[in-house]
Symmetry: C2
Subunit: 148 residues, 2 copies
Amino acid sequence: MDYMDLAIIEAEKAALRGEVPIGAVVVDSRTGEVLARAGNRTEEDNDPTAHAELVALRLAARHIGSPRLPYCDLYVTLEPCTMCATAISFARIRRLYFGAYDPKGGGVDHGAQFYNQSTCHHRPDVYGGLRENECGLLLRSFFQEKRA
Amino acid sequence: MDYMDLAIIEAEKAALRGEVPIGAVVVDSRTGEVLARAGNRTEEDNDPTAHAELVALRLAARHIGSPRLPYCDLYVTLEPCTMCATAISFARIRRLYFGAYDPKGGGVDHGAQFYNQSTCHHRPDVYGGLRENECGLLLRSFFQEKRA
């Protein structure tokens, strides 16, 4: 089982809670330890900022006792939005791996593309499209069921 | 005392905690009630996302029991960064009032300018430069003392 599997499991758990199925995992790249795993919790927590990535970053930072995670990688099932992409930069994440691309809400390869701005002071290495079909199918199934 | 006074007080309290002095207040525009007030807590909470605006948004949303705050206004002493600007949009904030402009880190009138993107689905009314000198002086004094 790899780290994206863990992120997908978090996304599936989010769907069971009625949340948009997105999951994220933060890993210490030096040891391979999983520091945090989280799914989207926006509705359940009444928190507009509780995207999977933000929740995972906050848990990992608290776990290691620093707001900066320079040796850590983040795995997430969907291209991060602009809020999350910026938070990933602030946290000094080393590598960002994401699953499905998000032309409507993404902020890495789409939209504001924060990492391409001159005001972005840390740009993680970005690897998009990891397990793309599987991650995208989770979301499509969720919204199809909502509409049914 | 107006709402920006309250935001400035939160910024001053943040400075006393050794945090970058930025403060934010969320107000229910229908009643005038202050739903949340917060300063920057990044270092103290070991949380890369704990900017004053994000902390205040989370508190206000929990207070009213919804991740969306469509009748609320946000007052903050500095132009929000890209992360916070996006979170303000997600929270459906009605009006954003900010103090000093931030050419280096701001994401409203500078940088990624999320509200001008086609992927931004809610744009608050924005009023920048409110008590600009006072708000900027707080930050300049803080960093001068740090360097001294």
